[in-house]
Amino acid sequence: MKKWQDNKGWLFILPVFIIVAFSAIIPLMTVVNYSIQDIFGPGQRIFVGTEWYKEVLTDQRLHDALWRQLLFSGLVLLIEMPLGIAIALTMPTKKGLGSSVCLVLIALPLLIPWNVIGTIWIIFTRPDIGLMGALINDMGWSFDHTASGLHAWITLMLMEVWHWTPLVILLAYAGLRSIPEAYYQAARIDGASAWAIFRYIQLPKMRGVLTIALLLRFMDSFLIYAEPFVLTGGGPGNATTFLSIYLVKIAVGQFDLGPAGAFSLIYFLIVLLFCYLFYQVLLNVGKGESS
């Protein structure tokens, strides 16, 4: 009887398997199939082996896009993670109107569709009518994200930090709220400083949610497409052409499904590797400290 009850549990997760199969595994298998063929149309294809992989791996534009992407994701994590934790630490901890208002205001950027975010920031940073763009230009600094690569990067970083730091804040805040009051009482009795409380109580207790925040932010920033596409279209020049934008140019712009398939798989493997490394590092960091 017990065995039957255990096995019945599989039926409940069967729908998830079916959904994942249709949404992820079948498309992934198709991409693998495309990556070793030259696809001309339905039923018209030639087997090319590893040719597309060779072409993609030796493509200088892909290398440039990869370095840009790594720099972008690195900066995003370096800014958003500490900033998110710092803001979460300053938020009201007691239940009430203050914390509710804070949470709603902080969550607002997360509710805006991604392509709308890009449009908002195009208008916001326009040197003629945009609040930020016009203000900076009035201060004597010629700011135009459509003409300067550096300005495009600054605008993108500001947009990304504004859009996604709230996620880190909400997760860090949830982690902080889950710490029992007894820990703080014990720390007060021991005369612990604010830094000691943060280092030895709050940070270890937030490790789980911060792992999730780090993984989500890395994956999202590494796969970013809509916001930079709307804001800069990958320009000026190729200054903000990230991997996803370059991939879409190959797959949709040039309709080269073979190279796009090979590119996608390499992209997937890079994301998989980084996520696994982050996950392992965060899972194991600080283990044994308490003993």
Partner: protein, 92 residues
């Protein structure tokens, strides 16, 4: 059901069949003889499934490095990857 849009080829069908068989084999192995986490030459304690994942991921990178850096046949990379899989599963 017409699966022409998936553009199947014999090598990719063989590849995915092998992966599926490997997962089924690992599942049966796990049921028959549950894994125990252990520490080998990898810097983390791993289960059998962890070692398979690490082995497959590194194998994929071995193939990519081979394609990107050399003009030699891909079969050499496959040989190195098989060797690596054996090493990581046994001593990883």
């Amino acid at each position: 059901m017409n699966l022409e849009w998936m553009a199947w080829t014999a090598p990719t069908a063989a590849f995915f069949s092998f992966i599926a068989l490997m997962l089924v084999g690992m599942t049966i192995w796990e049921i028959k003889c549950p894994t125990i986490k252990r520490k080998g030459f990898l810097p983390i304690a791993t289960t059998r499934g962890d070692r398979l994942f690490v082995g497959l991921l590194v194998s994929a990178y071995i193939h990519l490095a081979w394609i990107g850096l050399t003009d030699l046949a891909i079969w050499f990379a496959l040989g190195i990857a098989v060797l690596w899989m054996g090493v990581v599963m046994r001593w990883g």
